[in-house]
Symmetry: C2
Subunit: 228 residues, 2 copies
Amino acid sequence: MSARPQLKIVKKSLAELAAERLRAAILAGELPPGSRLVETALAEEIGASRGTIRAALSELERDRLVTCTRFSAWAVATLDAQRLWEIYTLRATIESGAARLLAERVTDDDVKAVREAERDLDAAERGAAGADRLACDLAFHATIVQRCGNRLLIDAYASIADQVRWVYAVSEQRSPARIDLVAWHAPLSDAICRGDGDAAASLAFALCMRSLDGDLGESAQKEAEAQA
Amino acid sequence: MSARPQLKIVKKSLAELAAERLRAAILAGELPPGSRLVETALAEEIGASRGTIRAALSELERDRLVTCTRFSAWAVATLDAQRLWEIYTLRATIESGAARLLAERVTDDDVKAVREAERDLDAAERGAAGADRLACDLAFHATIVQRCGNRLLIDAYASIADQVRWVYAVSEQRSPARIDLVAWHAPLSDAICRGDGDAAASLAFALCMRSLDGDLGESAQKEAEAQA
DNA sequence: TGATGAATGATTGTTGACAATCATCAAAGG
DNA sequence: CCTTTGATGATTGTCAACAATCATTCATCA
């Protein structure tokens, strides 16, 4: 069997297409938190029937991007300080578990991949602009999760990563704090590569929680005060 | 505001009712893994229309109890050794994160609750039958997660706990290995109560993974061999 | 003035019919 | 005998209409 270009086309149902559109619109901030979503209106705009839209909304509901109150209304989910904290701690939990798993079963390939991600991070730190730095940062974390070998964890991470991106998009503070990327990430790489599960878990958790304090400290602080 | 009995009645849609029924049937093993689920047949049996059944099936799909292949068929999900490992490591990850969170923010109330769950465990160890032992074991773990203060974590745990119960129901080995409950759980309680997040996370993870080896080692082993 | 209750419009919940797609199997051709 | 092709039945995907429910408004009355 020779290597072929990828020919297979992924067929998607209308509901999936609709969900994609809506997800993109929400993540882009076009539909701000709290926006009312009316099935008939969306059906008109998107060009599908209500049942189809309904399926799409249900999919987004399970990803916690929209909420539904019975017989009343769909709406884009809202973000308060509590939810923000929950999102980041869930992310920290998943990454922490993935890092522990990876460390406990680390292979040579894994070491190579992690070290490479670390090098990219170093390169980004030297020159690149904020957006690239953020991309490399996320790529580093994604590498760890992707290689942990647990599809359930990978899926859970994808879902929560969506919400993290959403938080970035919605909050005014678009670019993460200019921290010393390599200095913070290197200990985690080392722990994984030497197979130290406990250390990897601890460092991964701390690193994620640091993002909460650093990137979003201001707006979260503001919100918390507003609520008090 | 005085304390009142819970008066609110929860109205459920037909789709939710149907999902409940199906979930119960699957968890009880009435619909064994791999069973084909046909929308029209289910609609007939349950007494709702296809669209309603479809919504119910979608809900179960999100919880990974059923799978759907496009234009073809719904089916009860299957359990192989890999998936078994994934379920248990995801559970370990979530419990581990919850334990870390709880330890880092532990209050007097938390200490009291954890110690009480530990005492119940001790009592169960002395006298009770297998089922009660299992119940107390699960209650202890649930206590930790419930008190971590993160609704996302709690929900994620509820979903994965369903799957753990399912594994128990489906595998022949119904009762967990007769381990020394208190001896295994006490270090975790201690770590949480003294606020040692790293230790709590490590112990919680190890405890869950121990369940995989202990309770289900045989059947998992068998399956793994069958696949090879 | 404030509470109560009925009418109303808007929105979701549910249904059955029709269209699109897939898995199966038998026949044709080499 | 094996592979390919076409027909067929079964099953999911989509749709538009109807029913149930909710939020709002406004008139009524103590």
